[in-house]
């Protein structure tokens, strides 16, 4: 299978891609694209790899490099930012979140209190004794 590979360098002008030159060497094409981009005359440049298949008489295109003004601005902005060093001195080891304490609900007493029960028991006992004495006296 015979294939011919070439690299097209395009620049973006007036809302369309314009072919600037064609090279058969990838590195040279990338260098040319970067040189054109560095000239700051174009909002974007790209390199398209074209592979021509002689057997099928067809070609395949693939963008292998593309950069825009936005990329350049982003890189410039990143370069302007002071390199913030991460302070590890106060770094603490990770801890698991503490378990939430479940509030103990106050036990709501239901029914009569102990003293009432004792009083009731005392009354019943006294009543019982009184009844027992009454029965013996008969």
């Amino acid at each position: 299978m015979s294939q011919a590979v070439s690299f097209e360098v395009d620049t973006y002008q007036n809302n369309r891609w314009v072919l600037e030159c064609v090279l058969d060497d990838k590195d040279m094409a990338l260098s040319t694209a970067k040189r054109l981009y560095d000239s700051k005359r174009f909002s974007a440049v790209r390199v398209v790899q074209e592979t021509y298949d002689e057997n099928s008489n067809s070609s395949r295109e693939r963008v292998i490099f593309e950069t825009t003004v936005a990329d350049r601005d982003n890189r410039a902005a990143k370069a302007r930012q002071p390199a913030t060093k991460v302070d590890r001195s106060e770094r603490q080891s990770l801890k698991k979140r503490p378990r939430k304490k479940t509030e103990q609900k106050p036990v709501k007493k239901s029914g009569p209190s102990l003293w009432v029960l004792l009083l009731l028991l005392a009354i019943i006992s006294a009543g019982g004794l009184g009844l027992l004495v009454y029965v013996k006296s008969l």
């Binding site: 072919l19 600037e20 030159c21 064609v22 090279l23 058969d24 060497d25 040279m28 260098s31 040319t32 040189r35």
Partner: protein, 150 residues
């Protein structure tokens, strides 16, 4: 065959830069814009081709002595197709149709034979126009180094 002493690829970049600079807002520069005095030593690695009108054959207008040594029979004024098969200038001009088709510079490299030497070369061919509409000439350049047999 002379050998280029600088970094091989730089000549092509210098010529592309020169062509680009000479465009001056046009699609391409004209033949008159290409000046030997501005190209310095690179001029000897360059050549100029006049395409003529339709149906006319392309002829050499200038050919640098480092591409086509002076001791060979002159090629200036001769048809481009007449250049010997085993020569650097043949390789440097073989993609002329591609330049005419695309209307932009084309750069090609590879191996060739010239004067019995096996060469590794890189060449470029750029269109020229006097009216910025029809291509009437080509500006080219090529450099090379010998491939040493191990």
């Amino acid at each position: 065959m002379a050998e280029y002493k600088g970094i091989e690829r730089r000549l092509v970049f210098r010529l592309l830069d020169y062509w680009e600079k000479k465009k001056d807002g046009r699609k391409m520069p004209s033949l008159d814009d290409i000046k030997a005095s501005e190209l310095g030593d690179d001029w000897d690695w360059c050549f100029l081709i006049l395409l003529g009108d339709e149906e006319e054959s392309a002829t050499f207008h200038h050919i640098g002595s480092l591409i086509w040594p002076n001791d060979r029979s002159p090629l200036v004024g001769k048809e481009v197709s007449a250049s010997p098969d085993e020569s650097l200038v043949k390789q440097a001009t073989r993609f002329m149709p591609r330049v005419l088709e695309l209307g932009v510079p084309v750069s090609v490299g590879g191996e060739c034979t010239d004067g019995g030497d096996k060469l590794l070369y890189r060449s470029t061919l750029m269109p020229l126009s006097s009216d910025d509409e029809f291509v009437d000439a080509l500006f080219g350049g090529a450099n090379c180094r010998k491939v040493m047999n191990k």
